[in-house]
């Protein structure tokens, strides 16, 4: 399972900054502090990622098999 979280801000131009992450001089803000909302956005996303799948997903595997058989 991959849990690729967001890049910190300031890595926008990966090519230009390749291998020099975090160097001063681009649009980095003082201290490179991320605004609170950026973290909030990831939290919002991750909170859903970490939710257990609801019961409505129990049948999904069966549905997949059915879809497979219908196609075959």
């Amino acid at each position: 399972m991959e849990f690729v979280l967001s890049q910190p801000q300031g890595m926008d131009d990966r090519k230009r900054n390749q291998g020099r992450s975090g160097t001063a001089g681009d649009r980095a803000e003082p201290g490179r502090a991320e605004p609170g909302w950026a973290d909030g956005l990831r939290q919002l996303y991750n909170s859903v990622v970490h939710e257990p799948l609801p019961d409505s997903f129990d049948d999904l595997l069966k549905k997949l098999d059915r879809a497979k058989n219908e196609r075959d």
Binding site: M1, E2, V4, L5, S6, Q7, Q9, D12, R14, P30, P35, G36, W37, A38, G40, L41, R42, Q43, L44, Y45, N46, V48, V49, H50, E51, L53, P54, S56, F57, L60, L61, K63, L64, A67, K68, R71
Partner: protein, 181 residues
């Protein structure tokens, strides 16, 4: 069973396992896109079935999450157009609908972040979800959204600015660090 059949069966099992693994991410993306948990979960399940029936088009070893996100995204847009979940609205009103729902205090209990997110245009919201939350590169996100990389970069930048203003109107003035001194 022939060797070929056995290997197809094996591939199917690997595909299914990987597909199930990305479901939580699909739920998070869908929830962010449409803001409605019930609709989001419908989208995810339908996406999973679409992905499964199209599995021969998936290149093993490539990014399952990106591949399924693109399916979900296209499905979401066509559902909006088909207007399944709302009586009678055209594509242009989809955005208004989302904004309207976010502005209403009930029935959903939305965090400030969710409310602000729903105020973004669908393109910007999607861009921010993919890059800012989902951790995709601009290149991957552009592919998912079927747009140019430059377009994706500008959507993300604008979405970030707008969200920052919505959530933290005084952000630009916060440079003082010695208030207590």
């Amino acid at each position: 069973m022939s060797v070929t059949e056995g290997s197809v069966a094996h591939d199917d099992e690997v595909f299914k396992r990987d597909l199930l693994t990305v479901l939580p991410h699909l739920r998070a993306f869908a929830r962010g896109l449409c803001g409605r948990p019930d609709f989001a979960d419908d989208l995810v399940q339908e996406t999973a079935i679409k992905a499964w029936t199209a599995r021969e088009r998936f290149t093993p070893g490539t990014n399952m999450r990106a591949w399924t996100f693109a399916i979900l995204r296209n499905h979401f847009l066509s559902e909006l157009r088909r207007n399944r979940h709302q009586a009678d609205y055209d594509p242009d009103s989809a955005e208004r609908l989302l904004v309207m729902e976010a502005d209403q205090e009930a029935p959903l209990h939305l965090s400030d972040m969710e409310v602000a997110l729903m105020k973004l245009s669908p393109e910007r919201r999607e861009a921010l979800l993919l890059v800012g939350a989902g951790g995709f590169t601009y290149e991957e996100a552009a592919k998912i959204s079927d747009c140019a990389v430059g377009t994706m970069k500008s959507r993300v930048a604008r979405a970030r600015d707008q969200l920052a203003r919505l959530l933290d109107p005084e952000r630009d003035t916060i440079t003082v660090e010695h208030e207590k001194a």
